[in-house]
Subunit: 385 residues, 2 copies
DNA sequence: ATGAAAGCGCTAACAC
DNA sequence: GTGTTAGCGCTTTCAT
């Protein structure tokens, strides 16, 4: 493979001129220009400045260029300047692939992009990825998003590691005995999770304190005078779902209230599920005056049912959600919800992962962040009797 | 850096045994096991099977291993089998970084993850990325998602190319004279766009035919007997927005209807914008009986206003959206909308890009796909007078 | 049919 | 302080 110098030699012009012609960064005399273009043509050269070109241009060895760029060995001021000038003049950027091969790293973080089930939305994860990419970039890493099939999940992770595509993973949508976590721990592959798993496993994670969040929501409702408070929860068995339900039970117990069995209704996460669940809930023996929902999607459905039943959401029945979807504040009535500190979560999960990759686990590697209760009209009116 | 063979030699065991101990893939006698672990410890070796290990195990040269794996040179059946056995036994996967360095490619596709403005959602792009990653993987490529700052946009793209992080880009959210497109064309960097730009530029893109889509929606409303049809459109100057508005004008003109000036209201894309825009629209001199919206978000807001004004969406006023958000079918009434063929768009944009990277532009490199009208209760009732 | 060896672009030990 | 050189793990001529 020819280098810039070869082209310059063939055209019998300075390296710099060759670069300027090929990169179109500065005007060059037509004659020189043509010579360079011809030479490049004949050599089949496509502009690609390497450390060798910089060394030639600065009249130093490639090692010296490396020293200057990485600040790894003292270099005399004069040489340093010549090198930096050459770097600037040639627009040189070190080839990451070569650097990575040398260092046996990739500076890539894998993140599995789940197939979004129809009927659900991913607004939270959306923003999470953006913030994660931002945080990663501040460390010189990039995020590789790959697709995770429904079966043979771990195999995809193993593959990505064994071909050296990534240095580690961020995983989300964790389950209690998440096989990915088990396997990655076993293989010693660096990772950090958004979400908890089996309590007996020691691995780095960040998570939203759903229990605390729902507890706060219930306390808010109690403060409005509500005593009959129902909950629309997810089916048993999901970590975050169970934690949220615990928050509900916790708050009521603290308040000395024993919830009726039919105040707790389990449901899926789509809007129409929330609708039906609310219908069941409101036909309880002692219908609740307030409904805590484990997601905004469910809350939207519940509000729909409430209104359709001739009741006024926010007046006759208070409602709260979880996630604070962008549209939630624009609903009628605007929905009280719990906002997750996504930016912070993303930042922290990357911090944890970078530490793992560097083989120095942070002392605080299990981070729980409380969501913020955003009170809106769907719940802010004191209970009227 | 020590190799697996070094460890095996030091422990005085076969290479295979060393691998089995280190990878934990098969039980090994305790004594051997300990010897290997000690050797690895002393050499500070972390399991990493290379082509050299496979060659040693199969008693061939590394070249032969490469021949077999890439099917690039005929190899005798016996040798071939020995190599494949060794590959299987050692769980060997070629190191992508090395392969890429050699080939001067990265097999990475860059995709800029836009900062999602608060109050907006990205459900369409969500699924787009997923499908894009899937298509890319089928070609042996991966998607690198990076963040695109609001200023110095092109610089981010230039950087990624010049450090050899990616082989090309998929760009979305294109503008009329999109600077990224201009610059990438100028630099000869492979890319494909989701969205059109300046008609005078010749570059590969896929796009949704928004004009055709809205036209279909209007024709549907006309078929229900509507004659006073309003439109909630985006502010002037966005390519897709203008195309959608054209579809509206087009359909009405074809039907011989001249729209009143106050039937056309411009608005942003959040739910509450739609609400306010609908308010303005319905206070037109001759209020429309049907409203075409350029997005579901706007349509949701519009439905909210309609209902709050004591009218029944789908009965007194027909509404259609665009995007077919997952929640749209669960609204009351379920929202008629235009569904974009996201899977297909993603697949095609990757096809286009892969061709660009291979330097062979496809003959059909400007692809327009029509969205599908999903008719639901928000518009399916014939106009009553 | 197989192997030796050059080299992709870089870093870092080792010489001087 | 600077240059020479040996790899990182792979593909691919070019011999044999």
């Amino acid at each position: 493979m020819p280098s810039l110098r070869d082209v310059a030699n063939k055209a019998n012009v300075p390296i710099l001129s060759a670069y300027q012609v090929l990169s179109n960064t500065a005007p060059v005399e037509p004659q020189t220009r043509q010579a360079v273009i011809d030479a490049a043509e004949q050599l089949n050269y496509r502009l690609n400045v390497t450390i060798r070109d910089v060394a030639d241009q600065a009249h130093v060895s490639i090692a010296t260029v490396s020293y200057v760029l990485n600040n790894t060995v003292p270099v005399s001021a004069a040489t340093r300047e010549r090198v930096l000038d050459a770097v600037a003049a040639l627009g040189y950027r070190p080839n990451i692939t070569a650097r990575n091969l040398k260092a046996s790293e990739t500076r890539m973080i894998g993140y599995a992009w789940h197939d979004v089930p129809p009927g659900q939305m991913n607004t939270v994860l959306d923003r999470f990825i953006y913030c994660m990419a931002l945080a990663a970039e501040s460390y010189g890493y990039h995020v590789l998003t790959f697709t995770q099939p429904t079966e043979n999940v771990v195999q995809t992770y193993e593959e990505l590691i064994s071909i050296n595509r990534v240095d580690g993973f961020v995983i989300s949508n964790t389950g209690l005995n998440d096989e990915r976590i088990r396997r990655l721990m076993e293989m010693g592959v660096p990772f950090a999770a958004f979400g908890r798993a089996n309590d007996e496993w020691d691995f780095p994670y960040v998570d939203v304190d759903g229990r605390q969040g729902i507890k706060t929501a219930v306390e808010h409702l109690l403060a409005q005078g509500h005593r009959r408070i129902g909950v629309l929860a997810w089916p048993e068995g999901s970590l975050s779902g169970d934690a949220r339900l615990e928050g509900y039970l916790d708050a009521l117990e603290t308040a000395g209230i024993k919830p009726e069995p039919d105040w707790i209704v389990r449901t899926q996460n789509a809007v129409h599920d929330g609708w039906q669940a609310a219908q069941r809930l409101m036909s309880a023996r002692k219908p609740p005056t307030a409904v805590v929902c484990v997601s905004d999607m469910i809350a939207i459905g519940a509000m729909g049912y409430i209104e359709s039943a001739g009741l006024r959401a926010g007046v006759d029945v208070a409602i709260t959600g979880f996630d604070d979807l962008p549209l939630s504040e624009h609903l009628r009535p605007p929905l009280t919800s719990l906002r997750q500190p996504i930016e912070l979560l993303a930042r922290q999960v990357i911090d944890l992962l970078i530490a793992e990759i560097a083989q120095r686990r942070l002392p605080e590697h299990q981070i729980l962040l409380a969501p913020t209760l955003i009170v809106r009209a769907s719940s802010s009116q004191p209970l009227h009797c």
